[in-house]
Symmetry: C2
Subunit: 237 residues, 2 copies
């Protein structure tokens, strides 16, 4: 399958390109265990992540001006720590743990698949993560982006239409020349609604072994592939 | 010499990284000579480029909303063609010639120097060129940017302070952790005025063999290097 007229692939990142759950669990353990704190680390990661959509919703709904994801992550970290009864951490520990999101690792197929895709397409993250966060993940994981697009340059969080439309505009492309690649049906539905093509790459372990969501395509997406290598194959790279 | 606390290098592109004059002359000749048009091609490039600052000044002065450089280049192309007495070109020829700015080549030292610098620093263009223009130049010339910053994401043209400050903010860095690298003293002066460190890399052939401007540093810039290889050496890479 090839998609006629497509010039750019835009990627969701948390869950689709990088494994946030085991990375955040590892970072939390590295920061807190040496201070004698023992927690269910994956549950800690899940709690922190569960605050992500509600925090962005404040911005999407216009109740709060745009702030970058690092700021939301920090507020959410403090709420999660309070939930787990962890108090009194020094500022430096909090700041560094918050940067744990900048130190996540890609899924094993991601870097090689992107390198292959980049021979034929412009590649960019279209993530809710801020620019520096995307830069740090890319440098760590060898992700060969051509540009960093997404929420911070659009000043709008997905699934707001502006996040997608402004990213396409920065590439001088109509939405129909862009493919949104994501492990999340909701992201693809929002992208399709503004004219993007869509590619679903399920990540059945994103939420750990008991995952029940986004295991299957919810609509007839333009492409479905089980990893980035198969995506490259499907797109004729 | 090393610059303490520097994390990112931000590059001027037209003149500093790529040789716009010979590239635009080549592109104009390729587009127009087959139509029987003979011109002084470097003079054509100079005329087109001379309209660049006045066009951006309309935006900087607030007399016109921000539009991307491709739009200004197109308006300026039509004025230049009129000046040279060239009329009646089909739209497709105009559109493709305007994209000639996306097909410029880097100076011979640029790609290798950037690859070396990238081992130690985040690298980004901080150009007045729009995002897609920067992406196309990077893909053509092998320029290993970590992100595309500059005028279009800042929605402000250099030397407006916002162009520099917004770029630093997208990297989560104070201006003092960023070095502006440019072949133009005026660009460095504006960057220094908002707190950036500065590196001058003269490009004595940017304007052709008769160049009289920007041959020497006009202030005591933090670093002066004769090419990107020497810049890497000076910065301890």
């Amino acid at each position: 399958m090839t998609l006629h007229g497509v010039e750019a692939l835009c990627f969701d990142v948390f869950g689709t390109v990088v494994d946030w759950r085991s990375g955040v669990a590892r970072e939390a353990e590295a920061a807190l265990a040496p201070r004698g704190i023992g927690l269910d680390w994956p549950a800690f990661a899940d709690d922190w992540r569960a605050r992500y959509q509600p925090a962005m919703e404040e911005v999407r709904a216009g109740r709060r001006p745009f702030v970058k994801l690092d700021v939301l992550h920090r507020e959410n970290l403090e709420a999660t720590l309070a939930d787990f009864g962890v108090t009194g951490l020094p500022e430096a520990v909090l700041a560094d743990l918050n940067l744990g999101w900048h130190r996540l690792d890609p899924w094993p197929d991601a870097a090689a698949g992107l390198a292959r895709l980049r021979r034929s397409f412009i590649l960019a993250p279209l993530s809710n993560g801020n620019v520096r966060l995307m830069v740090d993940l890319a440098r760590r994981g060898g992700l060969p982006w051509d540009a960093i697009l997404g929420a911070e340059v659009a000043r709008a969080y997905k699934p707001s239409p502006e996040a997608y439309l402004r990213s396409a505009e920065l590439l001088d492309l109509p939405p129909s020349a862009c493919v949104m690649v994501a492990a999340h049906n909701g992201d693809l539905a929002a992208a399709r609604a503004v004219g993007f093509r869509t590619a679903f790459v399920p990540r059945p372990l994103e939420h750990g072994p008991g995952q029940t969501s986004d295991l299957e395509p919810a609509e007839a997406w333009d492409v479905v592939a089980r990893d980035f290598g198969e995506l490259a194959e499907r797109l004729g790279c």
